[in-house]
């Protein structure tokens, strides 16, 4: 059987490795004869080998302790070492290589492994970015370059890997113990993604004060010791310290996992421990801050609760300078405590949450994870608050992507929007109309090239003119990207499609370009139709459509 021996490349952090393992587990369920190998960095994999070993037949390290003391090795030895590791991979004779890392290093590694069938980012001699499969093109254009990405990373991994069945939604067995253990991981890899210790002190204080059966276990790595001490030794916690266990820097990831299996709740920010909790089927409460995109990286389980600030600049980009962290202040600790208590005391999963004090929840979105009718992870609002513009656009694009990339349709209620928001969408529709128009011109000029090349004597001058027109269209797409940032997902996708046109000759490349423009046109049509549908409750759609056409003609 083809594609039975697959090498999965994942060079990034523990959280990404865990998410990769979940997606690969599903592939194994779909195809029980598949043999999965993983190539990763030992630094990240070492702590979770107990999980990775159950998923992968073999785990290969592209770097290990030797590379941590890299300065002691000469370059010749380093090259020899890497060559041996690559030879080992090549001796396996893989049917397929799937790169799920999306970094340059992983793309170079993928290109060094001999295999005909490759997915994900591949470093190419002629074109540094080569991506062949559509879902990887989506990841490269949307996950890395837009704040409107619509899918969870595990769903993206599942689709890149070619999983066919729906995502697993394991339900948790009831915990027998009367003791309520809450695992708290108040740390992340970046200060922009985590609260200051004082807010966590308040949360722990209230949880323990309000529930005498509760015990809090703080977990984290050795790097978090200093911050953990600040929390643990806070005078506010003097009376409840006997019910706080500080495991930071002491418990291995496997021990943390065993603790999570018996916990009533996991609380923390976006980090690898959240993914570990989801893997253990423990209910999670995640506070998403800074550059975190909740739909992409929240714990992948049916019992994940997420609080995200409504702050305008959230989610930000990891490289954007910020000293103030307004989004941190927009999530009140009272809301987190109140929600945590509700999750733990409720016999059923929450499908609604209303804080006793409405002021504490007005600055946040409160979500619960859910798996849709087609088995994709999604976030459902637990409050009655209307979705904001970003969330509506994310939903619109999600429907469009699913139709285009997977020919699937998700059953979703039409979001209700306010009149203010409707007027904001007029500009978005303008951008979409321009984008659609450009795609149509692109289709036309690609077709002219194909037709001209099909004649007995193709006219070089004509071909030059058409080719120049296509260059102009590319420039205009770039202008649109700057003018209408909300349609960035479509334009970024176009840029990736154009950068990866397939074909050995000009006819084939032009055909490939034609289909790229067609895809963009389709995305525009679906997105525009959905916006119209959403706005339908307020005005007659026909009048608006006419308005858009007039506006775009004026432009």
């Amino acid at each position: 059987m083809k594609n039975n021996k697959i090498l999965v490349v994942q060079l990034t952090r523990i959280g990404d490795l865990l998410q990769t393992a979940v997606a690969c587990d599903q592939l194994k369920k779909d195809n029980q004869t598949v043999e999965l190998h993983l190539v990763c960095r030992k630094t990240f994999a070492a702590g979770i080998l107990f999980i990775l070993k159950s998923t992968f037949t073999k785990i290969h390290f592209i770097s290990d302790e030797k590379h941590q003391s890299i300065s002691y090795l000469g370059l010749t030895d380093l090259v020899k070492d890497i060559s041996q590791r690559i030879d080992t991979l090549n001796n396996e004779k893989f049917d397929q290589v799937v790169n799920l890392s999306f970094c340059k290093t992983s793309s170079i590694l993928s290109s060094l492994v001999t295999c005909e069938n490759k997915k994900g980012l591949i470093f190419n001699i002629n074109n540094p970015i080569t991506i062949n499969d559509p879902w990887s093109k989506y990841v490269y254009s949307n996950v890395l370059g837009s704040e409107l990405s619509s899918f969870h990373l595990i769903d993206l991994y599942r689709n890149i890997l070619g999983c066919i069945s729906e995502a697993p939604t394991a339900q948790r067995q009831t915990i027998s113990s009367n003791e309520k253990i809450i695992i708290v991981h108040p740390f992340t890899s970046s200060t922009r993604k985590q609260w200051k210790h004082s807010k966590w002190v308040e949360v722990i204080y209230r949880l323990l004060k309000n529930d005498s059966a509760a015990t809090v276990k703080i977990v984290g790595s050795k790097q978090d010791l200093k911050n953990a001490e600040l929390i643990f030794n806070s005078p506010i916690l003097n009376d409840s310290r006997s019910r706080i266990i500080n495991l930071v820097g002491q418990a291995s990831l496997e021990e943390v996992f065993r603790n999570l299996e018996n916990a009533a709740l996991f609380m923390g920010h976006d980090s690898s421990i959240g993914h570990l909790a989801a893997y253990a089927n423990t209910p999670t409460l995640t506070i998403s801050l800074g550059s975190v995109r909740p739909i992409e990286t929240s714990p992948y389980s049916a019992q994940a609760y997420i609080v995200a600030p409504k702050t305008d600049c959230f989610p930000c980009h990891a490289s954007t300078a910020c000293d103030f962290f307004r989004c941190h202040n927009d999530v009140p600790f009272q809301l987190i405590t109140s929600l945590a208590e509700k999750i733990m005391t409720s016999t059923q999963e929450l499908d609604h949450f209303k804080a006793d004090n409405p002021f504490i929840s007005s600055s946040c979105f409160i979500y619960k994870s859910t798996f849709t009718n087609i088995g994709f992870y999604d976030l459902k609002s637990l409050s009655e608050q209307a979705p904001d513009r970003k969330n509506i656009l994310r939903t619109i694009f999600r429907i469009a992507w699913l139709y285009m990339l997977a020919e699937k349709e998700e059953i979703k209620p039409t979001p209700k929007i306010s009149q203010n928001l409707e007027s904001a969408f007029v500009n978005t529709r303008k951008g979409i109309a321009f984008c659609y128009e450009l795609a149509q011109h692109g289709k036309d000029y690609s077709r002219y090239i194909i037709e001209e090349l099909g004649t007995n004597n193709p006219r070089i001058e004509e071909l030059k003119v058409y080719s120049k027109k296509l260059d102009e269209i590319d420039d205009l797409f770039n202008t649109l990207n700057a003018t209408y940032p909300e349609i960035k997902p479509i334009i970024n996708f176009y840029l990736v499609l154009k950068g990866n046109l397939q074909g050995e000759n000009i006819v084939k490349i032009s055909e490939s370009a034609f289909y790229a423009y067609q895809d963009i046109g389709l995305l525009c049509s679906i997105s525009d139709e959905l916006i119209l549908k959403i706005c339908d409750g307020i005005k007659q759609s026909g009048n608006r459509k006419a308005q858009i056409i007039i506006d775009s003609n004026q432009g």
């Binding site: 592209i62 300065s71 370059l75 090259v79 890497i82 060559s83 170079i108 290109s111 060094l112």
Partner: protein, 42 residues
């Protein structure tokens, strides 16, 4: 560490000067460079 990085960059530059595309050897150098740089970031 910086010394090794410089050495790698020099070797790759030399190759590029000759206008040759990347081959297995330079790709391995690029891979080592990437691994070192990412190691530093962590």
């Amino acid at each position: 560490l910086e010394h090794i990085k410089e050495e790698i960059l020099e070797l790759i530059k030399l190759k590029n000067k000759k206008g040759e595309p990347h081959n297995e050897e330079t790709l391995k150098l690029l891979l080592i460079l990437g691994l070192i740089e990412e190691q530093n970031e962590k």
